[in-house]
Amino acid sequence: MDELIKILKSYHPEVDYEKESGLIDKKIFDSFDIVSIVGELMDEFDIEINAEHMVPENFNSAKAIWDLIVRLQDE
């Protein structure tokens, strides 16, 4: 989780990722951020994120992103 927070902080350091649950819904992350973050996640966690995973529910909070990472690592 710490590695994830570190990546997210590099895009929006002002966000409290422990509490924030509307990263997409509140338009904190735009599509540029998402694509860049996804690229870093694939490298860092050795996972394959596909277009089917690109839904707001998977990126609205740090926890949701972490759950996606864990799920994809298990597959």
Partner: protein, 530 residues
């Protein structure tokens, strides 16, 4: 059947009466009949294409879902006996079938759309190639093609549904008639919004009880849409057209005014049509996705495109931009480019798909190179905006301008408005060359401005000009008021006499100041051609 016709008004009134008389569980069927009748009015030939799209996407979605179900059940039944590798191979072989079905169905439907939109465009270029490269004047004849109404909208909507089923985002619709309603729902078929199945389907199928408040609210929206279309867009249309025709003679400030008025015309036309569609939907108790969010208050072009034709933008984002930007090939290309330059490599998976999206967006708007240029210029400005953002923020800090300051916001809003206004020149110019020439003409002939030319030569008589300006002030004020709270919810809080006064005033303005006249025929909505 145009939205701006007595026939359409009668159609909606009769539909509303019958809709609220039939039991809720049959309302969707009535909507299907009404939608097919509405579409049939556009010509019987068009029916064939919408039926092909409906049947192919319905069938392909069911196939994909069945296939995925079989795969899951097989894996579940053989959980213990299959190794991880065997499961992977089996999944891949099943996914391949789904991929093929998705590909085939997309090719058929995009093929139909491309045939209508781009066949003559391709022939024109082939003929140019023959003339200039082969020196032949044996030209290929053009097809006599009329674009079936709403084909871009319902094709995109259906393909979006199919892709979502492929990704397993939700379950496929098994009732073909219910699915046919999703594809053909009449208020949105001619110019959008492009709805998502998971958002629209439940609205269409659940049924609604009669609610006078909702009817009233929907009616307000319809009238507001008519105001934008008839009082603003159709009033400005003759001026914009004439001014473009006479631009060599009347350049400079006349062209600035033309670009300003064209921005207002296209906004009034498109968002007005969407207001009518959403207002009618609201009266039927059906919520449809919004397509505009006060776009002229955007602070940069990227934001503008998140607030203008929202459903097309999100469609391109979800079905083209995201799949491309996280595609292994593009990511690997980015990695290779990182070897040359770290920053450049990082940008490849974002900017390359963006360029493709903008070329596609341009092509979607029209089968002409000027639209591709328009798309690429939009893309270029977004890239420039993204790249200079950190520098601008530092500069603003040095100048003592706070990010939240009203002045800075105002500067950005004005800058975005005018950039978009200038780019729209490619919409109204005959071709790319004419578009650039017109932009050049904007900077010429400023000394010769005479307001009487607008009244007498450019088909916007003084009285019409005054009405247009007042209408634009009303529009601007209404949009400004919507910043914190919807306009209608503000109106509904007012005392009853005030509400009646506003509604009566709106009807009066639309009837009296709508751009009618002798032999009046409401202008077709601009977006019908897309």
């Amino acid at each position: 059947m145009s939205f701006i016709s007595l026939k359409f008004a009668a159609f909606v009134i009769i539909l509303l009466i019958v809709y609220y008389l039939v039991p809720k569980k049959w309302q969707w069927l009535l909507l299907l009949l009404a939608s097919y009748y509405f579409y049939l009015c556009t010509g019987i030939k068009n029916m064939g294409y919408i039926l092909v799209t409906t049947l192919t996407t319905y069938g392909a979605a069911v196939f994909i879902e069945n296939n995925a179900r079989v795969q899951k059940e097989y894996i579940k039944a053989n959980k213990e006996s299959l190794s991880r590798e065997e499961k992977k191979v089996y999944k891949a072989s099943m996914k391949k079938k789904e991929k093929w079905m998705l590909f085939l169905c997309t090719v058929i439907n995009i093929g139909i759309l491309a045939y209508f939109k781009y066949a003559n465009f391709s022939i024109a270029y082939l003929n140019l190639f023959k003339l200039h490269v082969m020196g032949s004047t044996d030209f290929i004849g053009f097809f006599d093609l009329i674009l079936p109404l709403g084909i871009s909208f319902y094709t995109f909507q259906s393909i979006g549904y199919l892709v979502d089923i492929y990704y397993g985002k939700y379950e496929a619709e098994r009732n073909i008639f219910k699915y046919a309603l999703y594809v053909s729902y009449f208020p949105q078929i001619i110019q959008g919004p492009i709805s998502r199945f998971n958002e629209l389907a439940s609205e269409l199928y659940r049924g609604a009880s009669f609610d006078i408040m909702r009817i009233r609210s929907g009616f307000y929206r319809v009238m507001w849409g008519l105001f934008k279309k008839l009082v603003i867009a159709d009033r400005l249309s003759p001026f914009v057209q004439t001014s473009m025709e006479m631009r060599e003679e009347y350049s400079g400030f006349y062209l600035i005014l033309t670009l300003f008025f064209y921005s207002m015309q296209i906004y009034g036309d498109f968002s007005g049509g969407i207001d009518v569609a959403l207002g009618v939907s609201e009266m039927l108790g059906i919520r449809v996705a919004e397509n505009f969010e006060r776009p002229f208050f955007s602070k940069n072009i990227a934001e503008y495109w998140r607030r203008w034709h929202i459903t097309l933008g999100t469609w391109f984002r979800d079905y083209i931009f995201y799949p491309l930007s996280i595609n292994k090939g593009i990511i690997n290309l980015g990695k290779r480019c990182k070897g040359l330059n770290e920053g450049f490599g990082k940008r490849v998976p974002i900017y390359l798909p963006m360029i493709i999206v903008w070329i596609t967006t341009g092509m979607w708007h029209g089968a002409e190179s000027k639209y591709v240029v328009w798309g690429l210029l939009n893309c270029l400005f977004i890239i420039i905006g993204t790249e200079i953002k950190p520098g601008c923020e530092k500069l603003n800090e040095k100048l003592g301008l706070k990010e939240a300051s009203l002045l800075l916001k105002l500067i950005r809003v004005v800058k975005t408005f005018w950039l978009m206004a200038f780019l729209r020149v490619f919409d109204i110019a005959e071709d790319t060359k004419a578009g650039f020439e017109t932009l050049g003409l904007v900077f010429k002939g400023w000394k010769n401005f005479d307001i009487n030319v607008i009244f007498n030569e450019l088909k916007l008589p003084k009285e019409e000009f005054i009405v247009a300006i007042i209408a634009l002030i009303v529009l601007f004020s209404a949009e400004l008021l919507q910043r914190k709270e919807g306009l209608r919810s503000r109106i509904f809080k007012l005392p009853i006499p005030c509400r009646w006064l506003i509604l009566g005033g709106l009807i009066f303005i639309v009837v009296v100041y709508g751009s009618y006249g002798m032999g009046y025929d409401a202008k077709q909505f601009i977006y019908l051609q897309f």
